[in-house]
Structures are given as structure tokens and as C-alpha cells.
């Protein structure tokens, strides 16, 4: 079988994020990294491959993004993917979540994987939603926030934490599964894998190559228009104590609680 892993390049968590006032879009300059949730998706793919329950022929990492996004693919390959596909085209800039999901689904159709894995959320944008959008365009079932995954033949047994507790769901492949960070501990790439990552096959795909209808992507092809950015209602900043002397710190906490009658 073939597993595709959707990955995304996101601003490093330590970088202050901001909106570019001229375009109204997220300013994506500055340090970038592979979305941390996606490393769990790659690890899940690797564990299926190494688990022996099914034969995995290859793991393909797929991303959509500007030229710089190849770094996310290199990282994905260093973590175990066999090759990668980069959907990059100026026509895609400004795509909303539905347009992005449509474009990614078109790339996946060329690959026709048995299983698509992705992280349940990205550090910089749309939460929990892209997997469900991609699945719908592929006509496949989708589950999100999956924390345990077992595979037998063409059947997946997934555990996830939902509104009322843990759900166990059986899903027949092909399917799109987004995983939470509790599913595994991603491995560290070896130095050899990092060095070799740039040599693994990387295909760059344009809108035309993937038969993407250009009228359905980009800012013009998106159904949502974002704007009117404003500051949230301000909340007065709280008091911060650096704990240098713990007895003193505890005395301060107790006084604070006392003032608010929380020790009554």
C-alpha cells in the first residue's frame, strides 16, 4: 500500500506572528519549521510501515506552499518519507481552507494513496479542518484527533477523544486521518537521513500539472474573504512573580488568595 502524508511549513513557534498590513495575509517571513503535528503523522506512517501488519511500498510527503516549503519536505523525508511532492504555483496564493483542500485533493488524486495522514492542526492557521475538506473532495471518510491507529488489511481501527469520551471507529480504506500529538513520539532524524534528504526524489507540481481548476483557488477562487483586523478586547495584565525565594513567593500567593477571600 501507499501512504501519503500532508505536511505544512509553519512559522517557528518562537517567532512573533503578525498580519502583513498591505496584503491582509499572515506575514510568513522569518524562521520556518515543519508543523510539529505533522511529524506525528509521519511517525504514524513509519510505524505502519515497520509494524508489518501490511506491506507499505512507499510513503510520500505532499505539501502546498511557496518555494521555501521544500524545507518542510526535506524534513519530512529525513524523518522517513521516501519521496515528496511540492504543489507550488502563484495562482494558489491566498487560497482559503476549502480551496487549499481542493488543490491538495487534486494532487492526491494523481498519487491515489490508500491512506492519507496529516497532523490535526497547524501551528499557524486553520484548526482541525483541512483533513475533512480533503477527504470530501476525494470522496473518502475522514477522522480527526486520532490518538491510536491499528491497521489490518484495508481496515483501520482508530481511537480518538471526542465530546463525551473516547470513541473507537473502524474505517475502511482509502481514508484521510488526522492525528493528535498523543499518538506517538516522533523519532529524531539521523544525521545520515538529514544529509540524504535533499537527494530523495522531489517533484514540483503546478496548478496545470494537477488539473486544478484555477478559478477555484487563490484569493479570487476562495469563498471566504478575511479582513478588518482588530485588536481583541483588552484584559488587564496579571501580576507576575519570579520565584527567587520560595517562602517569599508562597507568602505572596497566600496574601493574594486572601485578598480575594479564596482561603475563607
Amino acid at each position: 500500500m501507499k501512504i501519503a502524508v500532508l505536511v505544512k511549513e509553519v512559522p517557528d513557534a518562537a517567532v512573533q506572528k503578525r498580519i502583513d498590513p498591505s496584503s491582509g495575509r499572515l506575514d510568513r517571513s522569518g524562521e520556518k519549521n515543519l508543523n510539529p503535528y505533522d511529524t506525528h503523522a509521519i511517525e504514524a506512517a513509519m510505524q505502519i510501515k515497520e509494524g508489518g501488519a501490511v506491506e507499505v511500498d512507499e510513503i510520500v510527503a505532499v505539501t502546498m506552499g511557496p518555494e521555501s516549503a521544500v524545507r518542510a519536505l526535506h524534513k519530512a523525508v529525513s524523518l522517513g518519507a521516501d519521496r515528496s511532492v511540492h504543489l507550488s504555483d502563484a495562482a494558489l496564493a491566498g487560497s482559503d481552507v476549502a480551496a487549499t483542500g481542493y488543490a491538495l485533493a487534486q494532487v492526491l488524486k494523481r498519487e491515489s494513496p490508500d491512506l492519507v495522514l496529516l497532523g490535526q492542526q497547524s501551528d499557524d492557521g486553520e484548526c482541525y479542518t483541512i483533513g475533512a475538506v480533503v477527504a470530501e473532495y476525494l470522496g473518502q471518510p475522514s477522522l480527526t484527533q486520532v490518538i491510536k491507529l491499528d491497521i489490518a488489511g484495508t481496515e483501520l481501527t482508530c481511537e480518538r477523544q471526542a465530546e463525551y469520551g473516547y470513541d473507537t471507529v473502524k474505517v475502511t480504506l482509502p481514508a484521510v486521518i488526522s492525528v493528535g500529538d498523543a499518538i506517538n513520539e516522533p523519532r529524531y532524524p539521523s544525521l545520515k537521513a538529514i544529509m540524504g534528504a535533499k537527494k530523495k526524489p522531489l517533484e514540483t507540481v503546478s496548478v496545470g500539472d494537477a488539473e486544478i481548476d484555477a478559478s477555484k483557488v487563490g484569493a479570487d477562487g476562495s469563498n471566504v474573504k478575511c479582513g478588518d483586523f482588530k485588536a481583541p478586547p483588552s484584559k488587564s495584565a496579571g501580576t507576575i512573580i519570579e520565584d527567587d525565594d520560595t517562602d517569599d513567593t508562597v507568602a505572596k500567593i497566600v496574601a493574594w488568595l486572601d485578598e480575594r477571600k479564596l482561603l475563607a
Binding site: 506572528k17 503578525r18 498580519i19 499572515l26 482559503d96 476549502a98 483542500g101 481542493y102 484548526c127 482541525y128 479542518t129 475533512a132 477527504a135 470530501e136 470522496g139 471518510p141 475522514s142 477522522l143 480527526t144 484527533q145 481501527t157 480518538r160 477523544q161 471526542a162 465530546e163 463525551y164 469520551g165 473516547y166 470513541d167 473507537t168 471507529v169 473502524k170 474505517v171 481514508a175 498523543a182 476562495s222 469563498n223 471566504v224 474573504k225 478575511c226 479582513g227 483586523f229 482588530k230 481583541p232 496579571g238 501580576t239 507576575i240 512573580i241 519570579e242 520565584d243 520560595t246 513567593t249 508562597v250 500567593i253 497566600v254 493574594w256 488568595l257 480575594r260 479564596l262 482561603l263
Partner: protein
């Protein structure tokens, strides 16, 4: 075309609180648009009495469809079919897992725009405009829709209000399940793991996160909660519940419980948005974390940057001494 559809999630004969908030909000918005809010319930053997009760929250009509519960596919099929009928321009969902899965899938099914983590909705020029906090809640962006729009709320964004005039008429509809909906089947739903803990009734919560380091770290929280007395309990973040350090029943946040105690003391919790939505309504928030850059310090009333292994035992002793 200005009617709004709302999906109401239910479990064991009761509706999800966030779903009720979504029905109430959709009812208010539909009123401003000159239309009606219609609710949709999908499940096995739902009584007309249960479905019709959504009328109290402002639904003018309730569709009930027979189908498996707890999965997105059957609901997307049902809502998609109702949208095909042509009378709907928007769909509104309360926060939570199924809201995200159904809302996103439905947007693709009916070619609509979708916004998630919505905290407010306004009617602007006869259309809905959804507000969504972005960039770690440092800014709020407004989404406008070209055509049909799907709005998925952040947990607790919409207040539950009984504004309707009693039970709504219930219409049973049949949904033919799509192939992909049939490819997912629930084996067990809502399984509880670990002991039962009542965190919703407590006025003081000592909550532990990954910063406790290991399951045994929760003893520090247990001891402090005991020192506070009978009205205190221990809560936990999703990360530590997933790791098996504490039972699910104590979990705060997006896929856990929503609380508003008098005092919320967060120990070793970074304050990710999924946790924040479950506890931000607490009256007093105290956070102890060794990382001075943890997001929790941005919304705590008292923040202590330090080692909880040193602070918690001494704080427990001090609280005990005060309580006599």
C-alpha cells in the same frame, strides 16, 4: 434564502451545551436576516419530544434523520441534502470535534466558505460576518462569505438562551448514506477511562499539565486540593489525560469539560488555546510554570515563574496552616 441550518449533537438523550448555544445564536441571526433557524438531529430512534425541545432555544423547525451517531459522514449527507433543497444560505455549529469535522466536510460538499474558532457573528449588509481570533488571539479577523457560509464556533462562544416559544415541529427525513459515510463505523462511543471526578461542581480547581513531569506529579495537585478542602478538586489537561496520568473525567478544554470555578490554579500548564477555551471563564486564574513565555501568563491574574516541585508543597503547607 436567508434561513440558517444548525446541527445539534446529542448523547444519551441530552443535547450538547455548545449545540444549544449554536441553535440560540442561529435563531438570533436568522431573525436579523429575516429568516428562520432550523435544527438538524441525526441519531437512532430520537423521540419527537427530544428533537422538538430545540424549539425552546429558537429553532422554528427540527429535522430528524435516522443514522449512526457520533460520526461526521451521516450528518454531512443530511445537511448537504437540505442545502440542495435551496432554502439555506448558512450553517452554524457549536464548537467541538463534530463541529470541525462536519463543518469542514460540508463546506467542501456544498462549495461554501468556512470559518472555525468563531467567537462572534454579526449581520452586515444583510449577510453574516464571522469574527475569529487569530495569531494566538492577538488579533481578530472578520470573515465574509461570497455565497454560502459555514460558521464553526469556538467552545462557549455562543450563550445558551431559551428564547423560543416552546416545542418546534419535527419533520422526519431520510438520508441515503454516501459511500464514504458507510466506510466509517462507530464501535464504541463516549468511553470513560479512569475514575469519575466531579470538576464541574468544585469552586476551586487545581489543574495539572505536562509540566508535572510524570503521573506521580499529580500527588502535588491532590495534596493542594485537599488542603483547600471539600469544595476543591483536581483537573487535568488533554496532554496528561492522553498520557494516562489522570482520568478523562477530569479533563478541561476542547474535548473535555468547561469550567468556571472561583479559583483555577494551573500547575505546569502552558495554556494552549484548546485548554484556554475550557477554563477562561474562571473568576481567578493563578498559573505556576517554569517557562516565562508560556501563553498561560497572558491570561492569568497571578503568574508565578518557577519550579512547581518547590512551590506546590510549600503552598500546600501554607494553605493547610491558614485553614487550621
Amino acid at each position: 434564502m436567508s434561513n440558517i441550518l444548525v446541527y445539534a449533537l446529542h448523547y444519551e438523550g441530552a443535547f450538547n451545551k455548545n449545540s444549544l448555544g449554536a441553535v440560540a445564536e442561529a435563531s438570533r441571526l436568522a431573525g436579523e436576516l429575516g429568516g428562520e433557524a432550523h435544527a438538524v438531529v441525526v441519531g437512532e430512534g430520537i423521540s419527537d419530544e427530544l428533537a422538538g425541545a430545540l424549539g425552546k432555544y429558537g429553532a422554528k423547525k427540527v429535522y430528524k434523520a435516522e443514522g449512526p451517531e457520533g460520526l461526521a459522514g451521516p450528518v454531512i449527507d443530511t445537511l448537504g441534502k437540505l442545502f440542495d433543497g435551496g432554502d439555506y444560505e448558512y450553517a452554524v455549529f457549536g464548537g467541538g470535534l463534530l463541529g470541525f469535522e462536519i463543518g469542514a466536510g460540508l463546506a467542501a460538499r456544498i462549495d461554501a466558505g468556512v470559518t472555525m474558532e468563531v467567537t462572534g457573528v454579526n449581520v452586515v449588509d444583510g449577510k453574516l460576518a464571522a469574527e475569529r481570533p487569530i495569531l494566538g488571539d492577538s488579533s481578530i479577523s472578520t470573515s465574509r462569505y461570497k455565497g454560502k457560509g459555514i460558521i464553526i464556533a469556538r467552545l462557549n462562544a455562543f450563550e445558551v438562551k431559551e428564547t423560543g416559544d416552546g416545542d418546534a415541529p419535527v419533520e422526519a427525513i431520510t438520508t441515503e448514506l454516501s459511500t464514504q459515510a458507510q466506510q466509517a463505523n462507530i464501535v464504541t462511543r463516549g468511553e470513560q477511562r479512569g475514575a469519575d471526578v466531579d470538576i464541574e461542581g468544585a469552586s476551586i480547581l487545581v489543574a495539572g499539565g505536562r509540566g508535572l513531569g510524570k503521573a506521580e506529579g499529580f500527588e502535588l495537585c491532590d495534596d493542594l486540593a485537599k488542603a483547600f478542602g471539600n469544595n476543591a478538586a483536581v483537573a487535568a489537561t488533554r496532554a496528561v489525560v492522553d498520557a494516562g496520568w489522570y482520568p478523562y473525567a477530569a479533563q478541561i478544554g476542547q474535548t473535555g469539560k468547561t469550567v468556571a470555578p472561583k479559583l483555577y490554579l494551573a500547575a505546569g500548564i502552558s495554556g494552549a488555546i484548546q485548554h484556554k477555551v475550557g477554563m477562561q471563564a474562571s473568576e481567578n486564574i493563578v498559573a505556576i510554570n517554569k517557562d516565562a513565555n508560556a501563553p498561560i501568563f497572558e491570561f492569568s491574574d497571578l503568574g508565578i515563574v518557577g519550579d512547581l516541585n518547590k512551590i506546590l508543597p510549600k503552598l500546600t503547607e501554607a494553605v493547610k496552616a491558614r485553614k487550621g
